[in-house]
Symmetry: C2
Subunit: 412 residues, 2 copies
């Protein structure tokens, strides 16, 4: 059996934890399995590097940011390999470049284009554990790129896909996927399984258990993901293609996301091509835009609102300012003091009225909705940041998520 | 003009110093010169990584040590490049692998086999400052190798050689090469120039201003080295081929080295091939052996003593133990509590009696000599570690090194 195991930064945050991860890896290897390990930077290493960087410049070239941040994972793979060797398994560490993880040119947010299996197969055939640096690759100029925060999950799934791994285990500091953040709602329930699509919505919505791109990739290649804790041997949550749809809860999770910033453009001329110009410009600067709303027209003028992340806000505002004259809108505002709460569930498709129930639960709490978007399996609302906890608790209760049996029967 | 500038770890130990180095680099670049910068790991980074490593294992595979330690320079090049860009010069950072610094397979002590100029030339032609990670390369398996402590000097000289640079400036925390360590002898004089051969002896003997291999390489390719401080614009010391031999001091420097461990083998059978077996075995494990002495024979038995570094001592003792039966010596001892003091001077060749003067100076201080070796331009003695400072002071005084004019006339 070939197993890919991914350990996040908290699992390798200090030498003792690295040794514990090594024991877990060596157990698997000594059972006769082939093991590829993907590892993130230790604990706060990435944040520490960013702090150091900010003492040098506030405007770093992104190529150099990748050069800097990729050292975090390189430190982890070296130390973990040493610990594995100490326990008696032969082992080799490989950077993204050494594996041959080829990406596009977009520094700090690169996408994987191709993964070579050659070097990994050579090492696996020699019965070595292969320890790969997550989060990083190289572009065709041999420059180091990084996949963005959480990109180590993507690395793990990409390796599992090209190696045709039997399973991809994502070890994290929680023991599975919950119906909502247990730090906010202590009654949250652990899901034993969840579909790729639901996980994708939850991941995109700030559940922070898995990186959304990794879920996309797993879905695309049909790689089952096992999300579990590195602290003990309990089973976690399996993410797979539509598990037992009929018996799934209507709403399987409530997510919230603080990394949201709202931008509003007002008095935008109502003529064809305006939205295209705005969102092409934002996309040309690799700014992630999430929700978009356009208000009703008055006097041939619209208001257009959209959300982005805090990280991208500054770049987005500069972009907006640069095209203001061309587009001809009167002004713009922004608000970082917001959050997004969402409900996700594959069962929504066959249960109309779920969105209305959500709005009702929030109205009962007198929470004002600033923006709304829906998809087949989720509904998201932007609200005031300070109201997030109340909103999540109300929604979790509304859809009976503290009792999965009740959640399955919701609305029947 | 093409200039290679090398900045050591103390020159980039913190963000403010990185910015100062950047200003210095940008000044040169904006004068219209092509600039290649080689940089070491920031301050204590390498030591910090080693401390971290020792919390994971005491017996790390050397390949993984290189994987770990090479991150130190990678952090430096990224941050320095950011600071340079901030000051308006276009810039690119390159790891040893990205430059194409190919080395042999000997991890932690690799030798440079070949340096590609291709990538550097492309970047220089685009008027970019090229910032290269010192101390590291890749072997033909694409594995990261390191050149050993002080290897950044070697990187700088190797780049200067292949790029046919006009000058190679080595910036350090001292303002040039001194007749001895000014921390030990405050009267030490700064040399305005020194020959490669003398510098080589001083470097090998623990003067720690330049890495000996870098001096060897500079001599081989005739690259003048300018050793100077990064803290101001004073001229330092030029290392070049035999500058004004006739006018050179007889002894140009006194060096001391604490990184010495003495090993003694006793009752070694006096038969052919014994020394070969011992020193081949040590060399097969890449253990640096410096001084070797063999005592007078008695009863067909010899005593053989040699020195190595503290780092290599453990490996050396294991090697000795492994061949004890084969070679048939009776036992062995070791002593780390020793130091080496040396005098160096190209003028010794034409001034006999310099060694005797050295022994006299040490005898006057009642310092016992445990081992002695000589070459054409140096004499070294192993003494008790605690006597080092007294020895250096006595020798510096004996050869009039507090007054270079007097030193030139010594013995005349």
């Amino acid at each position: 059996m070939l197993v890919v195991k991914k350990f996040g930064g908290s699992s390798v945050a200090e030498p003792e934890r690295i040794k514990r991860v090594a024991r877990r890896v060596v157990e698997e290897h000594q059972r006769g399995n082939q093991v590829v390990v993907v590892v993130s930077a230790m604990g706060d290493t990435t944040d520490d590097l960013i702090t150091l960087m900010k003492k040098v410049t506030n405007n770093p070239p992104e190529r150099e940011v990748d050069m800097l941040l990729s050292t975090g994972e390189q430190i982890s793979i070296a130390l973990l390999s040493m610990a594995i060797r100490d326990l008696g398994s032969d082992v080799v560490s490989l950077t993204g470049g050494q594996v041959g993880i080829e990406t596009d040119e977009v520094h700090t947010k690169a996408k994987i284009l191709k993964v070579s299996t050659e070097r990994m197969k050579v090492e696996l055939e020699q019965n070595r554990v292969v320890v790969v640096a997550g989060f990083q690759g190289i572009n065709n100029n041999k420059d180091i790129t990084t996949l963005g925060r959480g990109g180590s999950d993507t690395t793990a799934v990409a390796l599992a896909a090209v190696l045709k791994a039997d399973v991809c285990e994502i070890f994290t500091d929680v023991d599975g996927v919950y119906t909502t953040d247990p730090r906010v709602v202590p009654e949250a329930s652990k899901l034993t399984n969840i579909s790729y699509d639901e996980m994708l919505e939850l991941a995109s919505l700030g559940a922070q258990v898995l990186h959304p791109r990794s879920v996309e990739l797993a879905k695309q290649y049909g790689i089952p993901l096992h999300v579990r804790t590195s602290f003990d041997h309990r089973e976690g949550t399996i993410v797979e293609e539509a598990p037992d749809m009929e018996n799934a809860p209507v709403v399987s999770g409530v997510a919230h996301d603080f990394n949201v910033a709202k931008i509003g453009l007002f008095d935008v001329p109502d003529k064809p091509g305006v939205a295209k110009t705005i969102f092409k410009a934002l996309s040309a600067h690799n700014i992630n835009v999430d929700m978009i709303i356009q208000s009703a027209m008055r006097n041939n003028m619209n208001d257009i609102g959209f959300t982005t992340t805090h990280d991208d806000l500054r770049k987005a505002l500069l972009t907006i300012e640069a095209i203001q004259q061309e587009v001809g809108f009167k002004g713009y505002t922004h608000d970082e003091d917001v959050a997004k709460v969402s409900i996700v569930g594959a069962g929504m498709i066959s249960h109309p009225g779920v969105a209305a129930d959500m709005f009702e639960a929030l109205a009962d709490e007198e929470i004002n909705l600033e923006m709304i978007t829906t998809s087949e399996i989720k509904v998201s609302c932007v609200i005031k940041r300070s109201e997030t906890e109340r909103a999540v608790k109300a929604l979790h209760k509304k859809f009976c998520l503290d009792d999965l049996e009740a959640a399955r029967n919701y609305g029947q």
